[in-house]
């Protein structure tokens, strides 16, 4: 009987331990964001930032230093969680699903969040001077239903990269100005043999919408005009037909429909590909490797008219949570000081989002080609929540046109867009 009593005690302790453990886990998970969401009007002293990892070396270092400055200057505490791009969609979705949204989220989309009524607009949390400083293009694409929700953290613009050595070997004097020239140049480079690739065309799921945007903007096309989806417009079909023609003529790398952007960059970095659409981080890698003698030029347009640049910006959006308004406003106030935002952008090798930033970077020679085009850059319709789904549909389906019909592919995407994704 004594042993039974002992066993009861042990079992009881075990259960108590388990229960405590479970509670610990529960409250732990609950308070992480709950520290801010606690009372109804109680002011939050700690806010949480979920940031995307642009680079292993710089992103975490910057945000940690930023959190320190933020605490010193404002008295609020900033919890920083850096998440890789591969995971951030999944993580943010899970957080919101579990009612544990961060206070500030760094992502490449915002409109769906604004549509769901989760975000603060600029009137609530963005100091007026800051709003005035942000480039008009980005304010335009960050505005959903008349309110500015998508505050840009940094931007990039695409440009045309070509391998000078291969151009010389193929006897090409200058970068192409039209698509006809581009096609001819690609043929010449491919004809060099040895597995050389004229133009590296990535239409795989990673960034198909980026590659296609650059091409269609330079054929006078667009995703959306005057509030209507025009994905299957004649111009866009002609654009995709042209890309298919390049693939069929085998002047691109093998299987463009199944090539991701990173793989296309690798081809260019190894000196195999003659031309590719790149952006400043690719330039940084090339400069570090010093293997390829390259140059950057505006992307050729179909008919030789002025080149248009495809711009991309990511967002720092603010989630509505009781009492966090002041701390969040203090966050933006600090982030957009030239010292902070430009340091971040410079370290990551991207482009500025503010007028003061454009002035700050204007003496950087390597960035000239992008900076000149940046204020007029065209973006994908990120201000439309439907785009968040259309983008995914483009990534999953555009490559199919290489083995099928470009018209049918774009018709399908148009239907997806019109039915709201």
């Amino acid at each position: 009987m004594r042993s039974t009593k002992q066993s009861v005690v042990v079992a009881g302790l075990a259960i108590a331990g388990l229960a405590l453990g479970a509670c610990g886990g529960g409250t732990g998970a609950g308070t992480a964001p709950g520290g801010t969401a606690g009372g109804t009007a109680e002011e939050a002293k700690t806010i949480k930032l979920v940031a995307a990892e642009y680079s292993k070396d710089h992103t975490k270092a910057f945000w940690d230093a930023f959190a320190k400055t933020y605490h010193e200057k404002t008295g609020y505490t900033l919890e920083v969680q850096v998440v890789s791009w591969d995971n951030i969609d999944q993580q943010s979705s899970t957080m919101i699903q579990n009612n544990q949204a961060p206070d500030i989220l760094n992502l490449n989309a915002y409109a769906s969040y604004a549509k769901d009524g989760l975000l603060y607009d600029s009137d609530a949390v963005l100091p007026a001077v800051v709003k005035d400083d942000i480039l008009d293009t980005f304010v335009k694409y960050g505005t959903y239903q008349g309110k500015f929700y998508g505050f840009p953290d940094l931007s990039s613009a695409r440009a045309f990269f070509y391998n000078k050595t291969l151009f010389q070997q193929a006897g090409i004097a200058a970068p192409p100005k039209t698509w006809t020239e581009l096609e001819a140049d690609a043929k010449k480079i491919t004809a060099l043999g040895g597995g050389k690739v004229g133009y590296a065309l990535p239409l795989g799921p990673e960034e198909a919408q980026g590659e296609f945007s650059m091409w269609l903007f330079n054929n006078g096309g667009d995703w959306k005009t005057d509030g209507n989806w025009v994905i299957n417009s004649d111009k866009n079909v002609a654009t995709l037909d042209f890309l298919k023609k390049l693939a069929d003529e085998k002047v691109t790398q093998n299987n463009p429909a199944r090539t991701n952007r990173a793989d296309a960059f690798d081809l260019f970095k190894s000196g195999t590909a003659g031309m590719v659409i790149g952006f400043s981080p690719l330039a940084a890698d090339l400069d570090k490797d010093k293997k390829v003698d390259y140059a950057v030029a505006p992307f050729p347009s179909n008919d030789g008219t002025e080149s248009k640049t495809f711009g991309v910006t990511d967002y720092l959006m603010a989630f509505k949570k009781p009492g966090n308004e002041k701390a969040v406003k203090a966050f933006y106030n600090l982030y957009y000081t030239p010292d902070q935002v430009n340091t971040f952008i410079k370290a990551e090798g991207f482009l500025p989002v503010t007028k003061s930033g454009v002035a700050y970077f204007s003496n950087e020679k390597a960035l000239q080609v992008y900076l000149n085009t940046l204020p007029n850059a065209k973006l994908t319709p990120t201000d439309d929540p439907t785009w968040d789904k259309v983008k995914l549909a483009v990534q999953q389906n555009l490559g199919g046109a290489m083995n099928g019909s470009p018209k049918a592919t774009l018709d399908g995407l148009q239907r997806t867009a019109e039915s709201g994704g």
Binding site: A11, S92, S93, P205, A257, K389, A393, Q396, G400, G421
Partner: protein, 331 residues
């Protein structure tokens, strides 16, 4: 047989029937001793079971309930729950145009990987039970694919398979087996084959070791007797080794079916360049529904998850049934 096994874990009835069975020989006697646990107050027994029960509740039941709950919800693309969806998510999954492709891929993937793994492992295990110099090192080497993370292994194979720089294409080209490189991961006729190779590669270690254990359990005297009776090596293998290996075969098959069915990293990593669902199995299909596809719908993905659980339960159930039936008829 099946009656007594189902009764014994339940302490109370066994304690009651203990006396009645006391005259039964050895087997029942063992059961009677086990029955004494029931003499402890049931509440105490429950206390002892509590940690395990708590774990099952917390790790299995609670997530299952949450999954079911999610599958009945309507979610925005952001992950925000907008309301109840009833059975809509289930209908949407069943009506998904690519479901047929995905199911076919799943069957091909599981059957091919498990069958090839079992056949190869039987041969390799036979080889590894023989003693030869350096056997220990070979056995260690066999474990390595098991010890490495699946994502790392998959990424390694992506590099091996690469169209432009991959070593496999390089070797085949320099041996003049092929004239142009093979696009192992981008060419639709090769993708599944390439994934199955990796699947087999990572499933081999576990299966081989199960079989080594199985072979070790076969008594030498049976073999000797067969040899004395003049059985050929093939006859000995077919009529003695294989039948005695049946438990090991069953364990290896069931566990491998479950592992391979649930395998995510291999397919996800090797297939990430391919758009759509052309080479996805139900597991990666579920993930893409939630986070990568144009649906981007947590609720639909949860419904697909429920189907996954049911599917694997059915498969395992059918398999166990077959095994059971064979055992009963063979006696």
């Amino acid at each position: 047989m099946s009656d007594s096994t189902t009764v014994s874990p339940d302490p109370a009835p066994v304690a009651g029937s203990g006396d009645r069975r006391s005259r039964m020989p050895s087997r029942a006697g063992r059961r009677r001793r086990a029955g004494r646990i029931g003499q402890v107050h049931p509440l105490v027994a429950l206390l002892w079971l509590a940690p395990a029960l708590a774990l099952i509740l917390g790790v299995v039941l609670y997530p299952a309930i949450k999954l079911f709950d999610a599958s009945r919800g309507e979610y925005s693309i952001t992950g925000l729950r907008k309301g109840d969806a009833g059975w809509d998510n289930y209908v949407k999954v069943l009506e998904h145009p690519d479901l047929g492709t995905v199911l076919r891929n799943t069957v091909v993937w599981v059957v091919a990987v498990v069958a090839i793994t079992i056949v190869l492992s039987l041969a390799l295990a036979q080889f590894l039970v023989k003693s030869f110099p350096g056997r220990r090192f070979v056995r260690w080497a066999v474990i390595i694919p098991w010890a490495a993370s699946l994502v790392i292994t998959s990424q390694l194979f992506v590099l091996l398979y690469d169209y432009n720089y991959g070593i496999i294409n390089h070797i085949l080209l320099s041996l003049h087996v092929i004239g142009t490189p093979i696009d192992f991961l981008g060419d639709d006729s090769w993708t599944m084959f390439s994934m199955v190779v990796v699947g087999v590669f990572v499933s081999l270690p576990f299966t081989i070791f199960v079989f080594i254990a199985g072979l070790g359990a076969i008594p030498d005297d049976v073999m000797e007797a067969a040899t004395v009776d003049g059985a050929s090596p093939w006859q000995r293998y077919w009529n003695i080794t294989l039948p005695l290996m049946r438990p090991a075969l069953m364990i290896a098959t069931v566990l491998n079916v479950i592992y391979v069915f649930n395998s995510f990293p291999i397919i996800y990593t090797l297939n990430d360049r391919n758009p759509g669902y052309l080479h996805d199995t139900t597991i990666t299909f579920m993930y893409k529904l939630a986070f990568k596809s144009q649906e981007h719908d947590v609720g639909m993905s949860a419904a697909a998850g429920i189907f996954n659980v049911l599917l694997i339960l059915v498969v395992v159930g059918i398999y166990l049934k077959i095994i059971n039936w064979r055992e009963e008829t063979s006696r």
